[in-house]
């Protein structure tokens, strides 16, 4: 016979399941905390280093964004260091946008084929192929670019072969699988009855695809493209290997150029922590980080707009 006290204790005690529950919550919450701390840490670190160029080295932010000469080790006639990041910013945007323009039709075409025209073959052949492409490391793309794309560009257009065009070619192949698989998801999320209704009204398959499915999937497709652009913008190694790394405004597509990432990877080992050259590179990293943030915001915005419709 138990006393009330014992009974109360027994009832109020956490059961095994409840303990497990608490344990699970603690683990997942601490994992979350760790991730948040890491993200905040990275942003804080890059920002503090990147801002130092403007605070402790007194570089004008506007000059940094609009000047065209990038020689952080050298001061110009007015005694100001030459840290004009415009060529790199332009270079990054140029190859990002160009590769997205080239990749989008291929990606959407593949997605339409896989999802609308021939789902069976699509699932059997194209799905594994795109997945395989996603998994190839970027250095492999860069190496192929170096040994195939660059000589080809040189043979056709002359010059050194290193340049915006080669960078675009390599990036196009790199972002294609990402954009394709996300486009497939977008098309798949279009409800089946849209297609059925369209076909029932007498529309052909092409009319259905063009006027109904693609229209309904537009927000998803745009997300896919922006996602691909975000990847292209942040890609460093493969681009650095083929673009030529000349901090110049590209005059034509076969001129060598530089991107934010390529200048960062080539330069960071040759500078000394805390010096202006080093801080200027961190400022480039900050620009890169902010741009990734902008791409993320655009993706969110498109997603929200898609949901409202």
């Amino acid at each position: 016979m138990k006393t009330t006290q014992q009974l109360e204790k027994q009832l109020k005690r956490h059961s095994k399941a409840a303990k497990l529950e608490i344990w699970g919550k603690v683990v997942s919450f601490s994992a979350l905390l760790l991730i948040v701390a890491v993200v905040v840490g990275i942003i804080g670190f890059v920002a503090s280093k990147g801002i130092a160029t403007f605070t402790s080295n007194h570089v004008n932010l506007w000059d940094f964004l609009t000047e065209k000469k990038w020689n952080p080790g050298i001061t110009d006639a007015n005694g100001k260091p030459e840290v004009g990041a415009l060529p790199m910013i332009v270079g990054s945007f140029l190859i990002t946008i160009l590769s997205a323009i080239v990749a989008t039709p291929f990606a959407i075409g593949t997605a339409v084929f896989m999802n609308e025209i021939s789902p069976n073959k699509g699932a059997k052949i194209l799905q594994p192929v795109t997945e395989l492409l996603v998994g190839i490391p970027s250095v492999v793309y860069g190496f192929i670019g170096l040994s195939v794309v660059v000589p080809a560009t040189r043979a056709i257009f002359g010059g050194s072969g290193f340049g915006v065009l080669s960078g675009t070619c390599v990036l196009f192949v790199m972002i294609l699988p990402t954009v394709t698989s996300m486009s497939v998801d977008a098309l798949r999320s279009v409800p089946r009855y849209y297609r059925e209704a369209s076909l029932a009204l007498g529309a052909t398959q092409w009319q259905t695809i063009y006027k109904v499915v693609l229209r309904a999937a537009t927000p998803g497709l745009m997300t896919a493209v922006v996602f691909g652009m975000a990847r292209a913008f942040g890609e460093a190694l493969a681009v650095q290997m083929v673009i030529g790394n000349a901090a110049l405004m590209p005059g034509s597509l076969v001129d060598p150029a530089a991107t934010l990432t390529s200048v960062l990877t080539t330069g960071i080992g040759n500078t000394v922590m805390g010096s202006l050259q080093n801080n200027a590179l961190w400022s480039l990293a900050l620009v890169l980080l902010l741009m990734s943030l902008v791409f993320n915001l655009i993706i969110r915005l498109i997603g929200r707009k898609g949901r409202l419709q």
Partner: protein
Amino acid sequence: MSKKRWWQAIGAVIIVALGIFAYQTRQVSHAGESITAVGSTALQPLVEAAGEQYTGEHLGTFINVQGGGTGTGLSQIQGGAVQIGNSDLFAGEQKGIKAAALIDHRVAVVGITPIINRKIGLKNLTTQQLIQVFTGQVTNWRELGGSNVPVVLINRAQGSGTRATFEQFGLTNHRSKTAQEQDSSGMVRQIVATTPGAISYVAFSYVNSTVQALSLNGIKPTEDNVKTNRWRIWSYEHLYTKGQPHGLTKRFIQYVQSPAIQQTLVRQLGYLSPDQMKVERDVHGNVTRLEGGKS
């Protein structure tokens, strides 16, 4: 016993066996000393090879060699994060480095030569012509008597020791105009070999038959000309320590500077030994003749 239990038992046995194996074959370290050398990628092969030989001869020591670039090497040694900083440049030449706190140990001399694509058909330039090419005043090789191809400049990355040396002594302190930048000498050679009209510069050890090394003012880029400073584009390779080295660091640096390494490894890897030099150059580029030369 259930099947699952069996697998668990086998797994446990394997783990224990591996553990015993690892214990038996572990690196037996008597002194357990280790040092880290970081920096210049041009110097890395020499330090790596010397480090391997040294640890082979002195069991229980470990010399960890990493690249990262001259800037990284100097900033890491200045911060005291590593024991040796490898550098292509005098510490005083790198911005942001307080050279007074660092001690210089010269372990090799490297000669640098301009290289051009073979099809240009030139073998000699004057310094004036070289400067014109690198500052963009000459844009076609025809103007200098070569074939009719546009000049394609290939630079090393900003802050690279090779580039700094080349601009200081090859271009007599003129700055190259902004052009393509590559971050390794092997890559530079490959591009020059395959691109019509390309010109760049590499250490002597990178020159091979795929590219044309240029003579300057009629002087050939040879080791003998470097020794006498007739060929002016050369630099020391430095191991920097923060304060006087001691312990393993000291022994290792002495080892690298000893004849055992200087007369074998240094020359095999395409460097010159500072002992061979008949001249000495200081941080400002002033050259003094060494009387008789060291042994």
